[in-house]
């Protein structure tokens, strides 16, 4: 109807009652009507991810469910400055967008955020650290964990390239592919459980496009295949050391 709606789901863990409307309605509005109608004015934002004490229902990373739905976009910022620019782009994007905000960063992140209006492009991944031995791909709060792993790997002489995907659907295959062609190795890390996580899509795509360039299997360092546990959270999470171990294993393959 020409207006915009920005809906907030208080925790991504509670988004599922809206799944029918997002998947069957919002995502298909334009397509099913032959472009007579569209649901582009809709942006849904939801805090997602681990917070240290959230347990089953205040820690989930449900991005993979939504990345499986043609017709919507899925965007995840890694920092305050990114959040503003990306959110403004999402709101103005003529497609329905689900915007997951890493709640871990709500209290933790400190950054200079410009006061003026600015937009950051969707479906463009960003190389946030240059490297030559291995490509790491991630999003949201996990990037800072991966960055720590990259710093430590550097001490062991491993040069890591780190990419923030930013938009998971539609994702920027070109940037990731270009990086893998340079390094020959790739590692993906996310909090969501490994089986069926978005890392699987990235892995399959890279193997399709870069098979002969790859020096090692695609590595995934992710959450376990269990509900997000409370007291066992430290064991469940893809930690810096799990990533570091996987970097070394991949490089030494």
């Amino acid at each position: 109807m020409g207006n915009r709606a920005i809906a907030e789901i208080q925790f991504a863990d509670y988004i599922y009652p809206a799944f029918d409307q997002i998947v069957n309605e919002a995502a298909k509005f334009r397509y099913r009507s032959g472009n007579q109608f569209n649901c582009g004015g809709l942006t849904i934002r939801a805090p997602y991810g681990a917070v240290g004490h959230g347990g089953h229902y205040h820690s989930q990373s449900p991005e993979a469910f939504f990345c499986h739905v043609p017709g919507i976009k899925v965007v995840i910022p890694r920092s305050p400055r990114q959040a503003k620019g990306l959110l403004l782009s999402c709101i103005r994007d003529p497609n329905p967008v689900v915007f997951f905000e890493p709640k871990w960063l709500y209290r933790l992140a400190v950054e200079e955020v410009p006061e003026h209006d600015y937009m950051l492009p969707l479906s463009e991944a960003e190389v946030i650290r240059q490297g030559s031995d291995i490509t790491l791909v991630g999003w949201g709060a996990q990037l800072s964990v991966m960055e720590q792993a990259c710093n430590e790997a550097e001490k062991d002489g491993i040069s890591c390239e780190l990419i923030d995907l930013k938009t998971l659907l539609p994702w920027d295959k070109e940037t990731v592919e270009a990086s893998v062609r340079k390094t020959g190795r790739v590692l993906i890390s996310h909090e969501a459980p490994v089986t069926g996580g978005f890392g699987a899509e990235i892995s399959a795509s890279i193997v399709e496009r870069c098979f002969l360039r790859l020096e090692a299997p695609v590595a995934r360092v992710c959450g376990l295949d269990t509900p997000f546990p409370l007291v066992f959270e430290p064991f469940y999470m893809p930690t810096k050391n799990k990533i570091l171990d996987a970097i070394k294993a991949t490089v030494n393959y």
Partner: protein, 487 residues
């Protein structure tokens, strides 16, 4: 019998109504005002011995009618009457559609969005704890009354101490039942141990009544190895199979369709038990509320839907939650018998749940109870409610409308409780709680293996692999992991 009822319920109901109009002072008014009262007198089919108490004008509901006299009005009656009046012309001007015969009228009129007055709430005690005169209610034994009161005090103290423990960083989260002690304790007291409880999350009083110990509460909050939930969930997500109390989950209203299903299972197995499921005012806006109630009604399942209308859904006031007269009026939309009760009146809650349970089991039907109350505490330790409501309001309810004080006055006035017992109880409970916390804090967490069990009945190969891999990681990087979880 159920079939008989469906076909001629209107005729029977009207017969009763006309009979009542002659027998009660202002009777007609009260009949129409609240469907709960009306149905109380026509609770089943033909007058059998079993139903006679309910058909008897001198039974339970006469007192209820007298108690709510202050709410009477004639306007609502007229409106309601015209809506039903066409029944007498039944056979001449009716038309057939799927769903049955309806009479028709050529006068176009819309059913008003609300009645002139709100549905009155059933109460037995005055605000100061005095019994309302001439009131009828389900009598409570001294033993039960003392147990109810003691539990309410225990719940109050438990809430205070655990809340403090969270503030001190000893547990990660807590939420209180402050202001709603009468609801959970009194409703639990009216049930049998075989009745299945599907809580939302603000009803630990039910578990307390059933014998869950302070140690068991503390163990869950600390997520130690004695926690039945094996440390997997946040504090207050209690569950106890032996107490027929299903494990709490955070999402709102998801328990309601489950309650309908569990009640249906009891019905299939011919059990003399019911399900009681709790929900807040906010939860009634969820789709699952509609699904749960509708299913229960159609399946004629023995479930009591107990809505704690405490005025606030985190920061959303009821004025922004719905445009109906609360939740009680929604029952009729599903064909569910309903009642509104003063949730801060322990005796009223006890009586209403008692009666509801009998109906649910004997008649195999769902019942909706809306208990009006006030959420004195913040939504949880993650909330500061002074940000969205007046401190005066909170203090008023905490002091002047306190359900625990109200019930104490009643128990004390009839000589079943004393100041000395009060002091003894509070000191004893406080001591036990502090000890329970100390023990819980020192108790080991569950072992690492419990991270992988119970995802399924048996762990699939991917989990076995992940456990193996994780153990290797822990061996390599022990400093990354808490020392109170044995590997």
């Amino acid at each position: 019998m159920a079939n008989w009822l469906r076909i001629s319920s209107r005729t029977v109901a009207n017969h009763i109504k006309k009979r009542m109009n002659k027998e009660f002072m202002g009777g007609a008014v009260h009949v129409n005002q609240s469907s709960g009262l009306w149905w109380g007198l026509n609770r089943g089919g033909p007058v059998s011995d079993r139903n006679r108490r309910h058909m008897d004008p001198l039974a339970w509901n006469r007192a209820t009618l007298l108690c709510v006299q202050r709410f009477k009005t004639t306007l609502a009656e007229k409106q309601h009457d015209s809506f039903l009046s066409s029944d007498s012309d039944d056979d001449n001007q009716s038309v057939d559609f799927p769903g049955g015969k309806v009479s028709y009228t050529s006068e176009m009129s819309f059913i008003s969005e609300s009645s002139q007055t709100r549905v009155p709430c059933y109460r037995v005690l005055e605000d100061d704890g005095d019994l309302i005169s001439d009131c009828d209610f389900q009598q409570v034994s001294k033993e039960d009354a003392v147990k109810m009161y003691s539990n309410m005090v225990t719940l109050q103290i438990m809430d205070n101490i655990f809340y403090e423990a969270q503030r001190q960083g000893r547990i990660s989260f807590y939420l209180t039942s402050a202001g709603e002690e009468a609801i959970s304790i009194a409703s639990a007291a009216a049930l049998s141990e075989q009745d299945i409880i599907l809580p939302q999350y603000r009803e630990p009083g039910v578990l307390l009544w059933r014998g869950f110990t302070l140690q068991e509460f503390a163990d869950q909050c600390f997520g130690n190895k004695a926690d039945y939930g094996k440390g997997r969930q946040m504090p207050i997500h209690y569950g106890s199979k032996k107490h027929n109390f299903f494990t709490i989950s955070s999402p709102i209203a998801t328990q309601l369709p489950q309650a309908a299903g569990i009640a249906y299972s009891l019905k299939m197995d011919n059990k003399k038990a019911c399900v009681v499921s709790y929900i807040g005012d906010g939860g009634t806006s969820e789709g699952d509320f509609h699904a749960g109630l509708n299913f229960a009604a159609v399946m004629e399942a023995p479930v009591i839907f107990f809505c704690r209308n405490n005025g606030w859904a985190i920061s959303t006031n009821v004025s922004e939650q719905f445009r109906s007269d609360g939740i009680v009026v929604k029952g009729r939309a599903y064909g569910i018998r309903s009642i509104r009760v003063d949730g801060n009146d322990a005796l009223a809650v006890y009586s209403a749940v008692s009666a509801a349970r009998e109906m649910a089991i004997n008649e195999q039907r769902p019942i909706l109870i809306e208990a009006l109350t006030y959420r004195v505490g913040h939504h949880s330790t993650s909330d500061d409610s002074t940000k969205y409501r007046q401190l005066d309001e909170i203090v008023y309810w905490k002091k002047a409308r306190n359900p625990v004080n109200r019930f104490r006055n009643w128990v004390q006035n009839i000589g079943w409780w004393s100041e000395q017992q009060e002091t003894q109880l509070r000191n004893s409970v406080r001591k036990q709680l502090l000890e329970a916390i100390q023990v819980a804090e020192k108790t080991e967490k569950p072992p690492l293996s419990e991270l992988f069990t119970d995802v399924y009945d048996h762990p699939p190969s991917n989990l076995e692999e992940q456990e193996k891999h994780l153990r290797e990681t822990v061996t390599r990087h022990p400093k990354d992991y808490p020392s109170d979880i044995s590997v």
